[in-house]
Structures are given as C-alpha cells and as structure tokens.
Amino acid sequence: MGNFTKSFLLAAVFILGSGVVGTYSWASPEGKKALADLIGQAKKEGVLDSAITSGIVKAQARLTSAFKKRFGLDNLEINLARGSMSPKFVKLHATLKSGGTPTFDALTGTGQEHMKMKEAGFSTPIANWKLLLAEINPLVGSGQVNPKDVSPSPFSGYSFLWSTRTRSFIYNTKLITPDELPKSVADLANPKFKGMFAVPPWTSMWEVATLVYDKEKWLKITDQTGRNAGAVLRYGAGMDRMLLGEFAFQPTNSYYYWQRKAKDPTVPLGQRWFTDFTPLTKVLHLVPKNVRHPAAATLWSLWMTTPEAQAIWQPTNSQANAIFGQSAVDKEARKSLKASGSKIITWYDSPATIQRFKWFGTDEGRAYRAELKKGLTQRRKKKKGKR
C-alpha cells in the first residue's frame, strides 16, 4: 500500500470517524430507550406545573404546543406560572423543609438558587441525563456542545442551563457619550458621576465583585457608590427613569439593551461592558424533590435547553445563552463580550469561587453583606450625618 493510499485511507477513516462521533457521539439506543420511558411516564402523569419568567409570556402558547408536539404529549395539561423566581424558591424551600409536595414540578432560577437547593438536598438528580440530553438537544446529540456545558459543575446532572444574564452599563445617548461614561464598576465611586445613575436595592453584583477586589477596599468603593447614586431603583424602573431623562446611565442587565432595541431600533440607548469584570449569571432549570410529575418536569427542563425552544422564547426577551447558544443573539453577545476584554466572573468558576459564595452564608459573610447593602443603599446613614 503506497503512501498516498495510506494517507487516503487514514483521511477517509478520520473523516468518517469524526462524522460519526460528531453526529452521534452521545446518541445511543440506551438514550432512546430512556427517553421513550420518560415520555411514557409523562403521559401517565398527564400534567406539568412549571413557571416561566414574565419576559417570555408572549411565547407561552407556542412553547407549550411545540413541547407537546416534540414528545407526542398531546393530552398533557401544562400550567405555567410566571413572575419573579426568587420568592418561588423561598417558598419551595419552606415546602420541602416541612415535608410537603412542591407546587412546581420544574423551576427556573439562577445558579445561586440552584446551589442552595442542591446543598439542601432538595434537587432531584436526573438519571441518564447525558443520554437524555443527547436525544433531546440536537446540539449535544451532534457533538457540537458538551453535555457538561448544558449541565455545568457544580450542578451537573441536577440543573440544566437555559440562558445567561450579564450586567453592563446601559446609557441614554441623548444625555451622555461613551467617552464620558465610567469605565468600570469601581468608577461609580468617582464623585463626578454623582446623581447620574441609580443602583438596585440588591447587592448581588457587588457581592460577586469580591472575587476581583479586596473585600475591605470594595466595601469603601461600594459605600462611595451608594453616596453617588441618584436613587435606589429596581433595574426595570431604573431603565424607565433613565429613558425619561432623570439618569444618564445604569449598571443593569445587558439584555434590556437588546430587548429595547428589538422593540424600537431608534431608542436612544447605548451599551458598554465594564472593564473590571462582567458578572455572569447562569439561569437553569431543575426538578425539585418530591414533585408530582417528575417525568414531565425532566422533559421540560431538558427541552428548554434546545435551539427549538430558544427559537421560540428568545425573540420575546432577547436574553442570550452566552455559554453554548447558537442563535444570532447568542453569537453577538459572545462576540461583544470577547471584544471588550472584560473578565467574566461567576460564583461557580472554581472551588475557590464556590467557597466565597458559601462564605456569604456564614455569620461573617452575612455581616459583610449587610455592610455592602448599607453602603449601596445608604440606609441608616442619613440620620447619622454621614451623607
């Protein structure tokens, strides 16, 4: 056999092999059987109670109909609640702690919420999750996406990534130019920005910043940021007040920018990433313990990771999946983030970051958090003449 023939054969084997691995690397007869069993069980359950964020309610009917069609669950009754997920998780903890049955079979929430659920032993591990993902999500089935990106550590096998949220500056282009904007989150402490922005009443972004900044130094920066803030407002209300001209810019959820632009391309908004860090929150689905309809919940949690589901809900709220999403919005978000050079941080990058997250649950961490909140919102300081 000549060299040419050898090379040709090797190339042919490589191409065929990579094709097989690429297309069917995770798909298997076991996976098909596991999926068929799950569908059969879901049919018996007959109901799915879950929740979606209010941002995607426009897509609710199409989502439920596509889900039923995908798995042949025509008779499945789907009840989807909406609204903020944090209160739902708090109630879920109370329910499970008291030995009750959760009202939600599957729930979406941030990584922080999932960490606490898993720590408390309230999340259900999904059996054969890799095989099921390969059957349900074509990105995994084709090998384009590793199942571990869909169900990342530290909640592998328990939680499944639906989307991501990042924070950045969004500004009113009629009131401020990009050059005049602060560059970093720490710059908000600069007195020249006094009264030009609002901060939220929660400290999640300022907590995760301790992965980048020294804790004591950060406390002072946060306190000065609070003094400079023109108001303390929820992100949505802050956006409205900025559009009305009360504030020039906001540190807020980046997807508001894409969302408003999608609604009206002429809206006077600009967006810029922080230079010191970009906090990224993973939003995932899980199946809590003791639910009434675990099979339907598992199917829903896994299916919501698929491009099929994403194509339905993403146009309604422009929230990207910056980890493995393949839509135009996802690619644009990744490209823009990469170009900014900003350091992306999450609570679950490494054991050290997870350790810091857990530290916030200790007495010392709680006290630190309370100080952060006092600084950011300037509570209790007015009467003492510190402002």
């Binding site: 909406r82 109370a94 008291s98 009750g100 408003r260 649950g361 300037q378 009467k383």
Partner: protein, 604 residues
C-alpha cells in the same frame, strides 16, 4: 339497664346544655354562630402571625425564641421606618378627608349635576393600580423631569423647582388621592340617609347653613368619618406598592409595609439565606397592627354612644337634597379638580405610556411614535382565559362572602346587648389592622400544612386561598359599612315587626336589608373593586393555576416592561370602568329614584 339510663342522662345533659346556649344567645343564635365562623378564622390567623414572631425558623418547626423582637432595638426602625410610617398614615388621612368630605356632601346631599357620572369616575380611581398612579406622579412631580416642576420653573423664571415625591409626604399625597374614594364611599351611605328635618329645625331656629353643617350634619356622620379615617390610616400604613415606587423599595424612605413586603417577598436571590425571615415578617406585621389597634380603641369609644346617631326612624324618614344655586359651578369645579388629580392625570399617563415603544416625555418626536403594538397579544400576555376566570370568580365571590359575614357580625354588634359584641367588633376590625400580606403568609403556611396532612383540601395554589384571604381581609371594611348603616336604622322598626310575629331572619331580610340597601350595594361594589386591584396577597399566594389580573399586571411592571404593563393596566381600567358605570347606572338610577320617590311621598 344502667347503660340505657346513662344514654338518656347523656342526651338530657346535651339538651340542657343546648337550652342554656339558646337562653344565653336567645334569638341571636343564627347571626352569632355565623359571624363566629368568620371571626374564628380571623383570630386563628392573627394568633398565627403573632406565633410566627416567637419561632426560630419555619412556624411549623419546634422551639421558641424572642430573638426576632430584637428588631425593635434597631435604631433604623425607630428613627426612620416608624416616623415615616406615621407621616404616611396621618398625611393620607388628612388628604382623604380634605377631598372626600366635600365630595360626599356634594354628590349625596346636593343637586349637583352629573352626580352619577362623577360617582362612577370616583369609583374608577380604585381600579387604577397604585403603582401606575405613583408612576404618573413621578412624571408629574420630579426635580429633574417633572412636568409640573418644569412648568412652574418656566413660569417663575427659576432653573428648577426642588420638589420631589420620593419621600413620606409624597407617599401620603399620592396615597391620599388614591384612598379618597374609600372615605367617600364610607361616608356616602350615612350622608344620604341624613334626616333633613333636623337640619330644617336648625334652620328654623335661625342657625345658618355653615353652623347647621358643623353642629347638626357633621356630628350625625361622625362615626362614619371616624371609621373612614381609621380605616384609611390602617390601609395607608399597610399598602406597599405606592411607597415601594416612591422610595420604599430602595430603603431611602422606608415604611413598615415596604419593609414587610420585601422581607417575605425577596426581590433577588439572597446568597446568604434561602428562607424567609418568618419571625421578622411577623414582627413587622405586629408593628403595623399596633397603631391601628390603638386607633380602633378610640373608634369604639365613639361607637359606645350609638344612640346619638340614629337618623332613619319609622317616623318621617325623608332624605332631601340641598339646592346649590349658583354655587353649583364651584361644586363641579371641586369635583373635577379631584378627578383631574386622581383619575385623569394617571390615566393619561398610562394611556400615553401604553402607546409608546418605551416610556418618554410628551414631545413631537414621541407623538410620531404612538402605536398600538403593546396591545398585540395582550390577552395572552395577561394570562388568557384562566386569569379572566379566576378574576371574575374572585370579584363575585368575595363581595358576597364579605357582605354576608359583615351583616351577621354587625347585627350582633349593633343590635344585641350580648357582652361579647364589642370583642366581636374588635376581632372583625383585626384584618385591617394586621396587614393582608401577613394574613396571606399565615394562610400560605396553613396551606402548606394542609397539603401535607389534608391533601384533599383545595387550598394551596387554588383561587380558594386568595378568596379566603380577601374575604377575611375585607371583613373590616364590610363591617364598618354595615355597622354605620345599622346604626342609622332605629330598632323601633324591627320591634314593630317582631310584635307582628316576624322571625329574626324575616326582620333582617324583609325590613333591615331593604333599608340599608344603598350601603350594601356600595359596600359590595367597593369590595369587588378593592379585591380586583389587590395585589400583595394575590402575588404572595399565586402559584401555577391561580393567577389573577392585578398580580399579572404587577408582574409585567416588575419585570421591566412598563409599556406593556401600562397597556394591560389601560385594559383593566377600561373593563372595570365600563362595568362600574353600568352597575351604577343600574343601581344608582334606582337609588336616586327611590330617594326622590321618598321625597314625594307623605311622611309616615
């Protein structure tokens, strides 16, 4: 043989005990037992809220602690939260009396034109969600962007007018405007029923109109005004949505209600905790209840002198209207001024916002962007048929339950001499003293327990739990109306009926109910409207199948899309406005007719 004797003795004992209860309660056994059904639930929930303050974790876990009460030593609470709350409570009452007093007189006792239309419009104030009113006022009054500030600054040649509403005074102003209708409806019934012979007697004695109003009319409606003031004070300190918009959510102008809400309803994942601080929530609930209970005590002192306020008697009850003459234009101007502040401006703001892709100030550029895109798919966005069905069920069931139990309770309180009657009235008022959210929280825990031990009970996650929460919460309002209405019907009418052999039920249904029908209709309508727009309890109790419209609109606002939320709010206002006008045209027309008819008929 002994066993048979024992059974007979036992039956005899039961019969004698039954006889003793019958003798003790007399003919009142039916209203007493029915009213206690509701009052016992109120007591149970109240004790549960109190109990929450003494348990370390979940209220169903063992152990007791006093640590939650350490909150009281917090200077933040003493120096900021409580003073702010008092400013909001008292300020709101002053604003409501300023508007509602003249409005009730003008629309019930004078010949002012368009009274029914004005009444319908005042009722519409209720259905405009509080957060929308607050948003409207932020656009109107704000140092940087306020339309009124800008207009005044231009007029006075100043750079800016440093007036903001992000403070307790601003909250009191907005809340006062929002709660004026509740004061108006509370005093409308008694105002309508005032016997003009007393006023005429004053006139004949040479007293002028002003002094007649101050010395004769005002004292007669005093229980209603005081009841309304107490009611509004309690409402004002337990409403969270307006303070939340005007500085409460940020902690810069904190009040007890916003602190309570954000304690039990976290806005964002808390990395430090996964549980609601149940004890702290209970302490906030108790702190809100304390001043309300104090106010209630004074209300009872007034109520003790009930005989002074009876104006509807069997002898010549003839309500009559005052001819305003040329002053009617001033009257109309006053009504329009209130409606402009409380209805027109907020509605204009929500309609304006709903027609724009994003919120912006009025301008030529903004005008060019007006469209109906936010109304696309609104039915689906608001929750579809399920939400509509839940909302209608809520609006129909709650007023019926509230009126029924309120009437029964008031009957015992006002019409009997039972020693427990004042206690019963205080218990009926408790739901208003204890914030609805605390009740909802207690119900949630009970639902949790029920789902574990009594899984067949349709409580948690159903509309039933929201109906129960609202019915108990509105009992205070219902009993204020029925108390005031019964106070004005002197007992001689029912005494006559009893002499003629009528039963208690017959007296209630055929004599008293028709006499106080105007008050009952107002109470029913008002309860339906309050229930329709109530958001905090509904939000807390909402799970997968029991979403109602107000909670749906709030969620839209909370999640950041003010334009779509405004479109939903506009639809909400439109639907209920139409319903309200139809009902008032139907019921109001009959009311006016019967009142005028009474005028034409000879007395007695």
């Amino acid at each position: 043989m002994n066993e048979v004797v024992g059974v007979f003795n036992k039956q005899d004992r039961y019969r004698r005990a039954g006889d003793r209860i019958k003798r003790f309660l007399g003919p009142q056994i039916l209203p007493v037992s029915l009213s206690w059904m509701a009052l016992a639930s109120v007591l149970a929930l109240t004790f549960f809220v109190l109990y929450m303050t003494f348990v370390p974790g979940l209220p169903i876990e063992p152990g007791l602690t006093l640590s939650h009460w350490a909150l009281l030593s917090d200077s933040y609470l003493a120096l900021e939260v409580i003073p702010n709350t008092l400013i909001v409570g008292v300020g709101t009452v002053l604003v409501t009396i300023f508007f509602a007093g003249p409005l009730a007189w003008l629309l019930n006792r004078t010949t002012l034109p368009f009274r029914n239309v004005f009444m319908a419009m005042i009722a519409t104030v209720v259905v405009i969600p509080g957060f929308v009113k607050a948003m409207g006022w932020i656009i109107l009054v704000n140092e940087k962007i306020g339309l009124i500030n800008k207009g005044l600054a231009a007029l006075l040649g100043l750079e800016s007018i440093p007036i903001n509403l992000n403070n307790p005074y601003g909250m009191a102003w907005v809340m006062g405007l929002a709660l004026t209708p509740s004061m108006f409806f509370l005093i409308s019934g008694p105002m309508r029923a005032l016997d003009p012979t007393l006023e005429e007697a004053a006139g004949v004695s040479g007293v002028n109109r002003w002094w007649t109003f101050v010395r004769v009319s005002l004292p007669l409606v005093w229980p209603a005004i005081l009841g309304g003031a107490i009611y509004n004070f309690m409402t004002a300190i337990s409403i969270f949505e307006i303070p939340a918009m005007l500085g409460g959510a940020s902690g810069r102008a904190p009040v007890l209600a916003s602190e309570l809400f954000y304690t039990v309803h976290p806005t964002t994942p808390d990395s430090a905790a996964s549980e609601i601080p149940y004890g702290a929530a209970g302490v906030y609930g108790v702190l809100i209840a304390a001043p309300s209970l104090l106010a209630l005590h004074f209300y009872h002192r007034i109520l003790a002198k009930t005989h002074r306020y009876g104006v509807i008697t069997g002898k010549g009850y003839r309500p009559r209207n005052v001819e305003l003459g040329r002053y009617k234009y001033w009257g109309v101007a006053f009504v329009l001024f209130y409606l402009l502040l409380a209805v027109v401006l907020p509605i204009l703001v929500i309609v304006w916002t709903s027609l724009l892709p994003y919120v912006q100030m009025p301008s030529i550029e903004a005008l060019s962007k007006l469209n109906f895109a936010n109304y696309d798919d609104l039915y689906t966005i608001m929750g579809g048929p399920k939400v509509i069905r839940n909302t209608i069920l809520l609006m129909v069931t709650v007023p019926v339950l509230v009126l029924f139990f309120s009437f029964m309770t008031s009957w015992v309180v006002v019409r009997t001499r039972l020693r427990m009657r004042q206690t019963m009235d205080t218990i009926a008022m408790l739901p208003h003293a204890i914030p609805g959210l605390a009740f909802a929280f207690a119900l949630f825990i009970l639902g949790l327990v029920a789902s574990r031990w009594l899984p067949w009970l349709p409580l948690r996650g159903t509309v039933m739990i929201i109906i129960i929460a609202n019915s108990l919460n509105r009992l205070a309002y219902g009993t204020r109306i029925t108390n005031a209405a019964l106070l004005q019907v002197t007992p001689e009418l029912e005494e006559c009926a009893r002499v003629c052999g009528a039963s208690n039920v017959s007296v209630m249904w055929r004599i008293i109910a028709p006499l106080i029908k105007p008050s009952l209709i107002f109470a029913g309508l008002w309860t339906a409207m309050l229930t329709f727009r109530e958001v905090s309890m509904a939000l807390f109790l909402t799970e997968t199948k029991n979403l109602v419209l107000a909670a749906s609109v709030w969620m839209l606002w909370r999640d950041g899309d003010l334009s779509v939320a405004s479109a939903a709010a506009t639809v909400m206002v439109l639907i209920t406005g139409v319903l309200m006008i139809l009902t008032l045209v139907f019921a109001g027309g009959r009311l006016v007719e019967s009142r005028d008819g009474a005028q034409e008929r000879p007395p007695g």
